[in-house]
């Protein structure tokens, strides 16, 4: 097997919840501890687990938003573009949809030129028509979500991190956005999906990881892992 795209070795993260000097206070819980995980290029990794098991912390760590407090995280190449699918990051109400598309793309690691070349696609996918050139604070929440989703779709990261968002908008757009996400799952892009829904993970991922209390309980074939999770870990079965 080739070198992994991202490798986490014995990784630990904790939140202090305030600024205190010195070492880690003993009562501070670890959000992640002793985590070992390898992510291969092009794989579709699903992560299941209950609330507070460290899934979101893991995504933040992978996206480079935070650093580990112990252990390490290694990327196979410098400048690897790992991005969280976030809708409407940093939208400014007074800027137009087009300006926000550029700004939001810049936040997500793309250049102004790249975003300018994708404006037409974003306008078409979001179905905003002329409203694309009006200030975003005149939009409905549905229009906002459509624009946010269309922008995120055009950022083409090397690794896409998705936290439960599998579709937005009204019925028509929901189907369209779901299809677009499914397409990502069929492409070469590496995708990491977090979900409470074991069914979703087992149907679209190529590998699954079950997390509990900041560590990995099981990993491997998504159907097997999800079955174990549902029988032992899912709150609905408790």
């Amino acid at each position: 097997m080739s070198d992994p795209l991202i490798r986490l070795e014995n990784t630990g993260v904790y939140y202090r919840g305030g600024w205190t000097l010195g070492a880690r206070p003993p009562e501070t819980p670890w959000a992640l501890r002793g985590l070992n995980l390898e992510i291969q290029k092009g794989e579709k990794l699903g992560i299941v687990g209950r609330n507070g098991c460290g899934k979101s912390t893991l995504l933040r760590l992978l996206a480079g938003i935070i650093t580990p407090d112990e252990g390490s995280i290694r990327y196979s190449q410098s400048g690897l573009h790992v991005q969280l699918l976030a809708l409407g990051v940093g939208f400014e109400g007074n800027l137009t949809g087009a300006e926000n598309a550029i700004l939001s793309g810049l936040f997500m690691g793309k250049s102004r030129r790249h975003m300018e070349s994708r404006l037409r696609e974003i306008q078409e996918f979001s179905e905003l028509a002329d409203a694309f050139y009006h200030p975003v604070n005149t939009y409905s929440s549905g229009m906002n979500a459509r624009l946010g989703f269309s922008i995120a779709l055009q950022t083409d990261p090397d690794v896409f991190l998705i936290d439960e968002i599998l579709g937005v908008g009204d019925h028509g757009f929901l189907n369209k956005s779901r299809e677009a996400i499914q397409k990502k799952f069929k492409s070469d892009t590496t995708v990491i999906l977090i979900s409470h829904e074991a069914k979703t993970i087992s149907s679209i991922c190529s590998r699954a990881v079950w997390m509990n209390k900041g560590n990995i309980l099981a990993q491997g074939d998504p159907v097997d892992v999800c079955k174990t999770y549902e029988s032992q870990g899912s709150p609905s079965r408790r």
Partner: protein, 256 residues
């Protein structure tokens, strides 16, 4: 290099958004960029001219130059102290250097200052003795003050995010500085034995230098400017260390 260009564009778009939103907050929009310093100058002139006996156009221009210099400094730093807390949701979603956000607020405030400054400069040059060679010092003064503002904000933006109590302390310090920085009086009014303390305050040095250059056609005191330059370098070094240490740790320390 790509990142530098990207950060430059982020600062550009966010500054643009900041200016648009400031303008839309009030009926008079961008006119407030000029009205605000004029109004504060009017208030100070009204209050102070009776006490000091200094009246007329010269007294007004002296206060006006002091006031815009002060407001640029105070406004930028106070605004940048909250830059990170108000945009915390963005930091939770994308890995961006934390210093970008104070820079945006400084950018917005600097455009405000630039509008007022250009107007005041033209009025002063008409009423005082026209353009002189000393005006060549203006770019040096402007760049140095901007650099000092950035230096302070690198430190303050992180500190206030970690310790919100500092905001109250800062308000008190700025209130004190407002009264002692020579906004509505000049160095001649300061007793000789207090002058070294008066000039230990970097804002005083900027205000005096701007007044000298714009109103009197006089070159600034180079050793005092060098003192400000040294402070700026120290602020950049300390600020740079703080920013790089806390950049990826901030989110684990607080969730404002």
């Amino acid at each position: 290099m790509n990142n530098v260009l990207r950060y430059k564009d982020i600062i550009y778009y966010r500054t643009l958004a900041g200016l648009k939103s400031e303008a839309r907050k009030n009926y008079l929009g961008y006119l407030w960029f000029i009205f605000e310093p004029l109004l504060s100058t009017g208030v100070l002139y009204f209050a102070m001219s009776h006490l000091t006996g200094n009246r007329g156009a010269d007294a007004i221009l002296t206060i006006l130059v002091g006031m815009i210099t002060w407001q640029w400094f105070e406004g930028s730093i106070m605004l940048s102290s909250l830059s990170l807390t108000t945009k915390f949701h963005i930091h939770m979603q994308v890995p961006l250097p934390k210093y970008l956000f104070p820079l945006v607020d400084i950018g917005t405030h600097t455009v405000r200052f630039a509008c007022a400054f250009l107007l005041v400069l033209s009025v002063c040059l008409c009423l005082a003795h026209g353009p002189t060679i000393a005006l060549l010092w203006l770019p040096v003064l402007l760049i140095l003050q901007l650099a000092m503002i950035i230096g302070f904000s690198l430190i303050i933006s992180i500190s206030v995010t970690l310790m919100p109590d500092l905001k109250v302390l800062m308000q008190s310090i700025f209130r004190l500085l407002f009264f002692v920085s020579g906004i509505f009086f000049t160095a001649e009014k300061v007793p000789a034995h207090l002058l070294p303390y008066f000039h230990a305050n970097p804002i005083t040095i900027f205000i005096e230098s701007f007044r000298g250059v714009i109103l009197e056609g006089k070159a600034p005191n180079v050793s005092l400017l060098a003192y400000n330059a040294v402070i700026t370098v120290v602020l950049f070094v300390v600020g740079g260390c703080i920013q790089s240490y806390f950049d990826k740790r901030l989110l684990k320390l607080t969730n404002v």
